[in-house]
Symmetry: C2
Subunit: 425 residues, 2 copies
Amino acid sequence: MRILFKDANILNVKDGTLSLGNVITCGNTIEYVGTSSFGEFDEVIDCNKNIVMPGFVDAHCHSPMSILRGTGDDTALDEWLYNYMIPLENKLTPDDIYWGEKLAVLEYLASGITTVEECYFENEKILQALSQSGLRARVGFGPSTRKVSGDLQTYLKTQLSLFEKYDSSLLKPCVYIHAIYSTTQEDIEKSVDFSAKHNLPMSIHLSETLDEVGNCTVQNGGLTPPQYLESLGFFDRQTLCYHCVHMDKDDLQILSDYDASICTCPSSNVKLASGIAPVYAMQNKGINIAIGTDGPASNNSLDMFKEMFLVATLSKVAISDASVVKASEVLKMATLNGAKALGFDSGEIAKGKKADIIVVDIHNPHMHPHDNLVSNLVYSAKSSDVKLTMVDGKILYRDGKYTNEDVEQIYKKVDEIKKRLKNEH
Amino acid sequence: MRILFKDANILNVKDGTLSLGNVITCGNTIEYVGTSSFGEFDEVIDCNKNIVMPGFVDAHCHSPMSILRGTGDDTALDEWLYNYMIPLENKLTPDDIYWGEKLAVLEYLASGITTVEECYFENEKILQALSQSGLRARVGFGPSTRKVSGDLQTYLKTQLSLFEKYDSSLLKPCVYIHAIYSTTQEDIEKSVDFSAKHNLPMSIHLSETLDEVGNCTVQNGGLTPPQYLESLGFFDRQTLCYHCVHMDKDDLQILSDYDASICTCPSSNVKLASGIAPVYAMQNKGINIAIGTDGPASNNSLDMFKEMFLVATLSKVAISDASVVKASEVLKMATLNGAKALGFDSGEIAKGKKADIIVVDIHNPHMHPHDNLVSNLVYSAKSSDVKLTMVDGKILYRDGKYTNEDVEQIYKKVDEIKKRLKNEH
């Protein structure tokens, strides 16, 4: 398949500029970006000066929690987690998780998210749903809030073997430790060993709340969460740390020294009252910052436009300076930095990159006038402006329609699951 | 015209509940809310269980700044204001302002905003555009950043007389003082006198930034902005104060004692790094809190869904408590409280109220599951979910189409204006 995106405002996320031109994809790759066009095309998409940009990389999500959207909202964090989330999650069957993942997929594609980092349970079902979807994803497994049955080592091996039947350019594994507070030191060490042995990257929730930081320092001889993880060799691996809300400059220096990536999740952090992440300080340490939605039960949507607005504006208000964390920087975080954090060769509209592309409509009232479209993308655009979502050269969503998904069936299944959970609760 | 909204999830903003039923409008009024239907209808709108709720009241905006959307973004507040906004605003002709207002109207209607409080210059043009639009609005005039030519008293009289040719149930006047720092004490006093003489409500930007508070106390013998205004008799009038970001409990007590309303504008406050308003403290003082978008150049969109999300979540993170400022409370702020602040008999779906109604689609991935739709409205819904906007019994927007507005002409005019401004700048 050779496809021409014609007459587009092409976003270069590396320098935050737009230029009018054409993009050609061939198979799963971007073949050409420029003002010409050549050869035969299977399809010509007239972009009508709409923005063509890389799809968003949602670098942290627990997608099947879409099933729990709106549950326990407006309660304190502990109540939300221990009275709502964990009891309900314990009732979720593998099939529930499959349908929850599929509901999330609908939202991902409609809002221009082409790649996700997925951390949940029942990865067999998650991989199945993701594989059907055509999304690009990194899927984590490891010690989490749901107790591993049997020996951790065996569990990790079994989990890794699940990936064998899927296209490794689209679905990749990583070793995911839920958090310091939910995992023993022994299990962290075993996970790091496993990651080293199989050359796998690692992810973890880190310094998300003040409680986490306080408890860690008390329980580990004054070590902050990054210091504690450093002492266990965690950062010797290629790592992605979610949240990082409560980190001082010494903590950030550790992450910087080891080339760790951070995924900031502003919606979740403000909705659960965790805090505002020090994104400007992270930038100043040269850390690769990606953006994530976190789960749909703590957000409550999978919308990278909302996250971009929040990253830019919360960073400004946190240090009383409206000039920091600029729109162009945030666009790079939401795309290229995310791809880098997850180890995918995508995240920009450039020759040779994987064809993960979205078309964003600019012919809407809130996108006018058009003289600063980079700014409009971060401060004015809505996820409903996404007209088309392509992953790996395949168009998966266009003008409200999905290529691979049966929307009504998914809604029906989710309704049935919710009805059953309500009766059980 | 008698219209039936059939089979709807009807939102009661007073108690934050939804109930399945029908809404009947007759002329510009809500005639019936309940499970029956009776009589003849000019139109039956099958709501298909979508949410029927009052339209949003955007209680603070400078709409024609839509022309300046994306201008001076990511610069410090002073630079934004003095190097970008004010020089450009000085170049805006009355016609530019007319087209800016019309661009904003498109966004209002598409995102379910049925009522606005408008504060800008060239009210003749603004009233003309608003009158054509069919929106409900309160329009302010008084001493502002653009110098009044001639005597203030005469200016105020002339401004008030502009309203004579418009339907006073839709377009109402108020005396608007831009801010303490941009107005002399004499002009504040003259404005208060005029307001008292003509029985008009008053509005002002108040305690928006720390600079404003600091300068006011230095220049006025230690008086904070609310204390200073109290000393000038401002609060003896019916008042609406925008922003109120930097107020301690004594300041809030003054507003509470005088039954002043507050309009909080969270997007603008975080984007311009002004701060996070103490909304929970305002609630505890029993103050009527409305929500506003502020101008499209400091936001950068007119989207009350975004503002609702921010009011709820910023209030939580500001005091580290995820249980405060609940979704149901925020929905009331965005509708009924706004109508109360502006003095309109609208803002709820109840018999006898003005028929300002919107239909919000729930058949979207991000609105599933449906078991907590009140929460979904605040934390998950997008302005693109608005399918229909009715003001004063008239359908002004439905499924992407406007009844009164020529979208392409507005875009064309805005493009021309921007081109001219660019050449002049």
